[in-house]
């Protein structure tokens, strides 16, 4: 496993190094699909320059990243490319480990199910290649390559999230809370990953998920204490770094109130560009609640499968966050091979992949037509954005359906029969 992984790493690093040195790097760094006002490298450099001039980097609407990023890049700005590649590779190694630990879970499950659904369970042989596939999906995904070449801080966010996954699956509560806190500190949305993390730990420690049990609440209190404590520490540290609380409205206020309406691949910009001031707050709340809203129902449904819940939650964040980029999309796409056993139940693969491919190609085309050629307008670009998000949602819901269907088959057998013995079909109502 080490050799193919190393080979893959070398290939990925070569591709990125080649693109870094070519003239495409500036082109990619300006694309709105790849960088957003939060993650753009140009803004990080601006922020550092402002700091060198003695001005707070958060003055003016330039820099929207957290102070810890300032700290990190203050010393690493000349080695930025290497930093991003290193974080990327760390990402991969972490995912690799994540998947390895997932294998254990399958072994546990095998005993519980009736005979004919054994073919649904994956054999260790099949699962041997999954870590490599995950690594490949992430490293060679054009979205990640673009994101890395653009030096978008989304890559760092992904790395922290991968660390969070690793620590969760390894069972380390403290580290998991800390990394989740770091991820939340950078962009608010990963807070919803608390729920799957807690569910996972409870499963591992055999705490039943029951509202009346004391152990359940006690564990939640512990985890939240660690999480909120580290968040508090981080925020205070950031205050000490720059000596002011400027960063709170600039980072969190920016993410939540969406003042910048530069087009991106998300759903916020067009809607809020045509919104009347009177209704802005209302719709802002509606859109932001949309991200957090799916946590509770999904947790209730998937309380026995927290890892899948993490995947779903991650996908929901990537689709509905206020400034998504293709780097966020790449993160959850990388996890798809982990559920390759659901392949036989997926219904819309062809449609989704065609739409995603077509939209990815059409994004730059319609941008050019709108901004440079002037023969299209923002509606064209928004249509493609909508379609891209619809395709993503379809992908996520398809995987959800396939997962639930597999669970159903595992408990009820693969070939379902009606009462009179004839073959039955499952319908999703």
């Amino acid at each position: 496993m080490a050799a193919p992984l190393t080979l893959l790493l070398i290939v990925a690093v070569t591709i990125r190094a080649a693109l870094f040195r070519s003239s495409l790097a500036e082109l990619i760094a300006e694309r709105v699909e790849v960088v957003s006002p939060i993650t753009a490298w140009k803004r990080v450099v601006e922020g550092l320059a402002l700091l060198d001039l003695g001005v707070s980097p958060y003055s003016g609407d330039v820099f929207h990243e957290t102070p810890l990023i300032i700290y990190m890049f203050h010393f690493l700005v000349d080695y930025a490319e290497i930093t991003f590649m290193v974080s990327l590779n760390k990402n991969i190694i972490l995912k690799h480990f994540v998947v390895e630990f997932r294998k254990q879970k399958f072994a546990l499950e095998a005993d519980r199910y009736p005979m004919d659904s054994l073919e649904l369970i994956r054999s260790p042989k099949e699962m041997y290649y999954i870590p490599l596939k995950v690594a490949m999906f992430y490293l060679l995904n054009p979205f990640t390559i673009l994101s890395c070449v653009a030096k978008s801080t989304c890559g760092l966010n992904n790395a922290v999230l991968a660390l969070f996954f690793l620590s969760t699956i390894k069972g380390n509560v403290l580290l998991s809370a800390i990394f989740l806190c770091l991820a939340t500190y950078q962009s608010i949305y990963p807070i919803t990953l608390c729920a799957p993390a807690m569910l996972y730990f409870m499963q591992r420690q055999y705490i039943p998920v029951n509202f009346r049990r004391v152990s359940f609440w006690w564990f939640i209190v512990q985890y939240l204490f660690m999480y909120l404590g580290s968040l508090f520490v981080l925020i205070c540290l950031s205050f000490f770094l720059l000596g002011s609380w400027d960063y709170l409205p600039s980072v969190y206020g920016f993410i939540l109130s969406v003042p910048d309406l530069t087009p991106n691949i998300g759903l916020f910009w067009y809607f809020f560009a045509e919104m009347f001031e009177h209704f802005r707050l209302f719709f802002l709340c509606v859109f932001q609640i949309n991200v957090f809203f799916y946590t509770i129902p999904l947790s209730i449904k998937l309380k026995e499968h927290p890892v899948f819940l993490m995947f779903m939650q991650l996908a929901v964040i990537s689709i509905f966050k206020s400034y998504p980029t293709v780097g966020d999309v790449a993160l959850y796409l990388a996890f798809l091979p982990v559920w390759s056993h659901l392949h036989r139940f997926l219904r819309n693969i062809f449609l989704v992949s065609c739409v995603l491919l077509a939209c990815s190609v059409l994004f730059p085309v319609l941008w050019h037509l709108w901004i440079y050629a002037g023969s299209a307008n923002s509606n064209f670009y928004y249509a493609i954005t909508l379609l891209f998000n619809v395709a993503q949602i379809l992908l996520v819901s398809d995987y959800f359906y396939a997962f639930l269907r597999r669970e159903h088959h595992l408990t009820n057998g693969l070939y379902l029969k009606r009462k009179d013995g004839s073959e039955a079909t499952l319908i999703l109502k």
Partner: protein
């Protein structure tokens, strides 16, 4: 393209329109039409043709405007008297499979673009503000003549608008609108400034009749392609070009105008009958209550053509009063000029020569200490104290 000079009518008309002298040139039958000839009080013709939509799929609006331009030019109005406003360039659009052409018929029978089209306002210059300024004449002094409507009180003006419209408005460029009230007020300004003798207003948009509802100035006749609540429909798509080429009303109007030549006697009543509901699907409307003459006596060429009245006279006229030469003012001696010099507002030279202060920001020491202590704490908590001996 024959010129508009007609040599077959003579006469010398006094102010109050009475026929004073009538030189016999042998065209006696035209005596009957003499009255008709002098019934309109205009001496020159202008046309303002506006297409308000951009984007490739609005090809038909540009084709509409260019068809009317073509007819108007063919019937004699010169380019200097036509203000053509096209909001987008279809002939040279990337998507035009036949570049430098704009067709108005399926199978590309009629290229209305030709090679002598003069567009006065193009692309983003076609705005509501510019349109109203052209109509009222309030243009900045630097505007060239070709962009001005230099009409006077003996001008008959044809105004043709096409694009996307609604009940009471016409959309310009997908970003702004002109309302019927504004248009009516602009025409009133024109009337008060004596900028027209008679005005023919034609509009080919959805719910076009709403645009002429508010007119209140005299001597305006208006035609529209559809009533309020109706949509004007397009005529035929061309599969080779991929878009609809013309709107129905203008298509049938063009067909009607192709039969007109400068000597035609067709009058406005025939124009009102163009494109009945069976052909147009929408009901074309017209408004003649503000017009002083009877529409039956108004010739099509009064607005669409530039039929000039020419007097042929055999008499010699004496020009008395020679023109006096004005004496030039003697040039004064060179005035004393004070020597002025430019004073710097900013002390530029000081700024340039000043070296920038190298102030490098460093994170505060307390922060670094605190951060690394925390990281170490977490590390040891997770992995246990026993690893210490591996580090030291």
């Amino acid at each position: 393209h024959h010129q508009c000079v007609n040599g077959w009518m003579t006469g010398c008309v006094k102010r109050f329109g009475v026929l004073k002298r009538y030189t016999n040139t042998g065209h006696l039958p035209f005596k009957n039409s003499a009255g008709q000839f002098f019934s309109s009080g205009h001496t020159n013709n202008w046309a303002v043709l506006v297409c308000t939509s951009r984007f490739w799929f609005n090809y038909r609006h540009v084709a509409n405007t260019l068809s009317v331009y073509r007819s108007v030019k063919r019937l004699g109005i010169p380019d200097s008297h036509i203000v053509l406003m096209l909001a987008d360039d279809m002939a040279c659009n990337h998507r035009n499979p036949k570049p430098a052409t704009v067709f108005s018929h399926k199978n590309m029978e009629l290229n209305v673009y030709g090679d002598d089209v003069e567009v006065d306002y193009r692309g983003y210059e076609v705005t509501v503000e510019n349109f109203l300024r052209v109509l009222t004449g309030r243009l900045p002094p630097s505007t060239p003549r070709s962009k001005r409507l230099l009409s006077d009180d003996r001008s008959n003006i044809l105004i043709y608008l096409t694009g996307h419209g609604g009940n009471g408005f016409l959309k310009f460029q997908d970003s702004e609108e002109i309302s019927n009230v504004e248009l009516a007020d602009a025409f009133e300004q024109m009337w008060q400034k004596r900028r027209y003798n008679e005005l023919l207003f034609i509009i080919d948009t959805c719910q076009g009749a709403s645009m002429y509802e508010r007119f209140y100035s005299p001597n305006i006749m208006a035609l529209a392609s559809s009533q309020v609540g109706e949509d004007s429909l397009s005529h035929q798509p061309d599969l080779a070009i991929g878009v609809h080429l013309m709107d129905r009303y203008t298509f049938y109007m063009l067909e009607f105008l192709e039969d007109i030549h400068p000597a035609s006697k067709t009058n406005m009543n025939d124009l009102f009958k163009v494109c009945p509901k069976s052909q147009c699907v929408s009901t074309p409307g017209h408004r003649t209550d503000l017009f002083l003459r009877d529409p039956g006596s108004v010739l099509i060429t009064d607005f669409f053509g530039s039929v000039r009245k020419v007097e042929l006279t055999m008499d010699a006229i004496n020009l008395t009063d020679p023109i006096k030469q004005m004496e030039e003012n003697p040039v004064n001696g060179e005035e004393q000029k004070e020597v002025y010099s430019y004073a710097d507002q900013l002390p530029v030279s000081e700024i340039i020569h000043q070296k920038p202060k190298q102030k490098d920001w460093h994170p505060p020491d307390g922060f670094i200490l605190g951060l690394w202590t925390l990281i170490l704490l977490v590390f040891f908590k997770t992995y246990g104290i026993k690893h210490l001996k591996h580090i030291f």
